[in-house]
Symmetry: C2
Subunit: 122 residues, 2 copies
DNA sequence: CGGCATCCGCCAAGATACTG
DNA sequence: CAGTATCTTGGCGGATGCCG
């Protein structure tokens, strides 16, 4: 057994996870769906600042990653519901942790983010 | 107390965390530093595909968020070491989870990512 | 309502080169 | 070795409109 001097190649797992959760609203979508908001239109309402197109697109991507199931009700008006797959359930802990961490450090973080954007504004 | 009908406003925590871990290499940087790779040049070697400029910039941002401490040795050639702050230690669990999740699901994910990029190539 | 096509602006990140 | 300035680029996401 050699001692790894530098390589580490930590990339693998981290990079793939970021690939899956990378989009702007992906984590919010997963979280919202886990909370029972299943329909695209409701999701858009629940995620202020998001647009239909991007949400739709990211839902599609999450479906391709088998994070989400898509159930189509063939009726008029059409109705669609997304639910977490088993794989999707396994990412939830990560997202909840991210949310908790953000909540928990809200005050200091807000201040830092604010001062950063101000200094950039100059 | 009103029942929230739709809002949820889950944004807060999640959004801030993504703000902090958002850059392309931020999570890798934090992870590598937690593993004892502290110097910029070593970090760049440890993270294949990264460039000096972006790494440097993201280290700076993480420092501004008080995720990292920067220690400068005034000598020639110059030497700099980054270490995790207490706040930085608290994000580590998230990153480790992301890494583990990615590792654990490597096989299926790789296949999906591959097929996705192929279909896009058309 | 849900999905997709199109067009476009912007910004994060690549490439390169220079200072201390 | 570490950091920054400059220029360029690619692709993500915003806006809008149409169709089933």
């Amino acid at each position: 057994m050699y001692e790894k001097k530098i390589p580490l190649l930590l990339e693998c797992g981290l990079t793939m996870t970021k690939e899956v959760l990378g989009g702007k609203w992906k984590t919010s979508l997963i979280y919202a769906i886990s909370e029972g908001i299943l329909r695209p239109s409701d999701l858009q309402r629940a995620i202020p600042g998001s647009t239909k197109r991007v949400l739709s697109q990211q839902l599609k991507e999450l479906e391709e990653f088998h994070i989400l199931n898509k159930k189509i009700y063939h009726q008029l008006p059409p109705k669609v519901e997304y639910t977490l797959t088993e794989l999707g359930e396994t990412v939830l802990p990560i997202i909840k942790m991210m949310n908790q961490w953000g909540e928990h450090n809200r005050i200091p973080l807000e201040t830092m983010i604010k001062s950063r954007s101000e200094s950039r504004a100059v």
